[in-house]
């Protein structure tokens, strides 16, 4: 293989490597978003069953989100609602991650995740 071919091969390999790394890094926040939504929906289930979120539940939700890498968690939820009342859970959080910029530099980006869903309270015992 001539030196020219080697240079082409090296450039292609480097480019492909950077492209794959960049694409994978781009996809990672999506999977964090999946976890974020599922954790939040678990607490919507608690609201639906109990009529609201206690301070303890809010702390648990914050902790669970922090454990999967989210920061600046803000929760808006009712504390105690009566049966058949509308309940809204809104959770906002930031997820910081590193990503390739123009396939050359790495920069820190922030994903602002917002969860907001409504349901009605049904506090029948299970």
């Amino acid at each position: 293989m001539s030196p020219g071919n080697l240079v082409i091969l090296a450039l292609v390999v480097v480019f492909l490597f950077m492209f794959v790394v960049g694409s994978t890094e781009y996809s990672l926040p999506f999977f964090q978003r999946l976890k974020f939504d599922n954790v939040c929906n678990k607490y919507l289930a608690i609201i639906q069953a109990n009529g609201g979120l206690s301070q303890e539940h809010k702390n648990e939700l914050t902790l669970e989100l922090e454990e999967i890498g989210f920061t600046d968690v803000s929760i808006s939820a009712p504390t105690k609602l009566e049966w058949n009342t509308e309940a809204i859970l809104r959770v906002e959080a930031s997820y910081k991650f590193k990503a390739m910029k123009a396939y050359l530099f790495r920069e820190e980006k922030t994903l602002q995740a917002v969860y907001e869903n409504k349901t009605r309270v049904m506090t029948l015992e299970r």
Binding site: N41, Q48, R120
Partner: protein
């Protein structure tokens, strides 16, 4: 010179394959995330339907005080309307079921299609719906979500959830 062109051709093909695969990976990630968000919104809407408990029907049955074996009957007409209302609110759709600017559904030209909202009360159970075995009061919600997929264009993605009070 001839061999060089073979290398360049091979490298170009490999590069294109990797680029297409990467775009595919990104699109799949987006679709999976959107599907999961829609599923959670539909579950919230389904739970809302459980507030339309048919008290007359439940009152005529025995074991109303026993949480373990008590049968929960829903008012089908009310549940249907309420679930539709909450689907619209949770997905942030307008009155014709098109996603509004606040919606996380990015494709906003076409409406969300509600294929089916079906309530399974205890007197119809057990039943097998498709491949799902239903043994307790359940609300089935089937919708089609509009989405633009790179390389494939516009598509409707089907999403079906079965909601009962023990979903979590």
């Amino acid at each position: 010179m001839g061999k060089s062109w073979v290398y360049i051709g091979f490298a170009t093909i490999m590069t294109l394959i990797i680029i297409i695969l990467s775009i595919f990976l990104m699109e799949i990630s987006t679709i999976i995330t959107l599907g999961n968000r829609v599923e959670n919104s539909l579950i919230g809407a389904g739970w809302a339907g459980f507030s339309t408990v048919d008290l007359d029907e439940i009152g005529e049955r025995k074991n109303i005080d026993n949480a373990e074996i008590r049968e929960i009957y829903l008012d089908k007409a009310k549940a249907n309307l309420l679930v539709k209302q909450y689907i619209r609110q949770n997905l942030k759709l307008d009155t014709s079921y098109r996603p509004t600017n606040d919606s996380y559904i990015v494709s906003r030209d076409k409406p969300v299609v509600i294929d089916e909202i079906r309530i399974f009360n205890p007197d119809e159970l057990p039943i097998i719906d498709g491949k799902t075995n239903i043994t307790r009061t359940t609300i089935k919600i089937a919708v089609e979500i509009p989405m633009d997929i790179k390389g494939l264009g516009f598509r409707y993605a089907k999403k079906t959830v079965y909601v009962d009070i023990d979903t979590f």
